[in-house]
Symmetry: C2
Subunit: 272 residues, 2 copies
């Protein structure tokens, strides 16, 4: 099932994206038993949002050998254990939203990643064997990164934490096996203005999804709706205002975002 | 005004801690105009919780010269700009709750810090001069850190992100000047089992509060209730199960927490 979150003139809702391309609105949230309101929308009449608003986005660095090789001068060798970092919830945007380049920055990179969405049971201190029951589904994430700040700060929080630096979507697939796909072997690609930049398969993950979720759950409780981004394959590179970056994963659709200059209007808590 | 959050037999509420030590319950949240329910509780009849549940805790590393000196072998020289990292919301606990030492860990340290709580206006792209209007008040934070993992991981997320690694409280003071105190010059101390370990003053912060909040707001939007921890003075050191760590800041009371061994029960989303 493809779960989306969307804005209509009536407000925000979750829904199910049908085979005919229409969205069937659901009552409340999509965890647990789903009940439909009966309302259906053509995609042209609604705006897809990030399919979930996670309390946190837990990311994994250096989890594809080819990406470790291309980044070696900056981030070193392969880790012995999963390398964790966080993106704040305020960095999340949806499909079609603009990635905003910070003022003065010239080295913002795309990083396509398989995203795991945690289900209603959450995850705390679980074994790899228990992970399946804690997964709600899969989506696409773009771990947008300011490469110069990543190097100068050492800690990656600022470089990866700007508002708009975490596109998620377009939907959450809750049953990849049901559509004949294995989350452990999905093609992952990223194009910029139609030109292919990244290409890999989730079968190349150094630490696989059960290992990652179990590991993270032994550090911090994963809450329903939290998102784990599993690392990016080789081919990362810069994006500039005016470009369009599109992240695609088999079975999960394409997550396309424009790139814009920063909105630097000074506000004390005004509109985002 | 001293804002607390508490659990009573009737549920969770915010309240105001009066001069007589009683808690006056307030309607809803404490941002904006406060209205009282009329219910009053003796502290013995309620349990204080973390005074806020932040969407994120943004922390600042290496912000006191004496702490930079004691940590130099591990974390290097003073930063040219504020060094940011995040603690997940799941790490937050309240006064009296137990800090839980991860299984196998022998090097978990206390770090007392002045905490800034963001108010209803939030903060985005604001100047240092605008920061005052975005601050709700001040509280105490303990940036609990697993020092061995901090070194081995490089990224500090795991070392500082364990459940229970962010005690906050006991209250939020919304008017330090009203009680004759200046947030820019408060005594900050930490004791373990009554023995003084850390001592400093916020006048020694390398980057002061207006600079920090402005800087962070240009990276990530700070939402109402978000907490910024401003760095720790010298004297950090290990804590062990059975000990009691008490962080004290002038005008903000004392944040006392026991230290316990990890609860390693394996649960797929069970109780925390």
């Amino acid at each position: 099932m493809r779960i989306v979150r969307f804005a209509s003139p009536q407000g925000m809702s979750f829904g199910v994206l049908d085979g005919d391309g229409q969205v069937a609105q659901i009552e409340g949230h999509p965890f647990g038993q789903i009940s439909f309101t009966g309302a259906r929308y053509a995609q042209a009449d609604i705006r897809l949002l990030s399919p979930i608003l996670p309390s946190k986005v837990v990311c994994v660095g250096k989890n594809y050998a080819d990406h470790i090789a291309e980044m070696k001068g900056l981030t070193g060798d392969a880790p012995k254990e999963p390398l964790l970092f966080l993106k704040p919830s305020t960095s999340v945007i949806g499909p079609g939203d603009a990635i905003r380049i910070p003022a003065g920055s010239t080295n913002v990179h795309h990083e396509v990643e398989l995203g795991v969405v945690i289900g209603a049971r959450g995850a705390r201190n679980i074994s790899p064997e228990q992970v399946g029951a804690s997964i709600f589904g899969y989506t696409i994430g773009n771990d947008v990164t300011e490469r110069d700040m990543q190097q100068s700060d050492g800690q990656w929080t600022r470089a990866k934490g700007f508002d708009s630096f975490c596109p998620l979507g377009p939907w959450i697939e809750t049953d990849l096996p049901g559509v004949g796909l294995d989350p452990a072997d999905l093609e992952v690609t990223c194009t910029v203005d139609g030109e292919q930049r990244q290409s890999g398969r989730t079968s190349s993950l150094i630490f696989d999804v059960p290992t990652l979720i179990s590991y993270i759950s032994r550090v911090m409780t994963l809450l329903p709706g939290d998102v784990v981004l599993t690392g990016t394959p080789a081919g990362v590179g810069p994006i500039r205002p005016g470009q369009r970056v599109e992240c695609t994963i088999e079975g999960l659709g394409s997550l396309a975002n424009s790139v814009a200059a920063a909105d630097a209007v000074s506000t004390a808590g005004g509109s985002r």
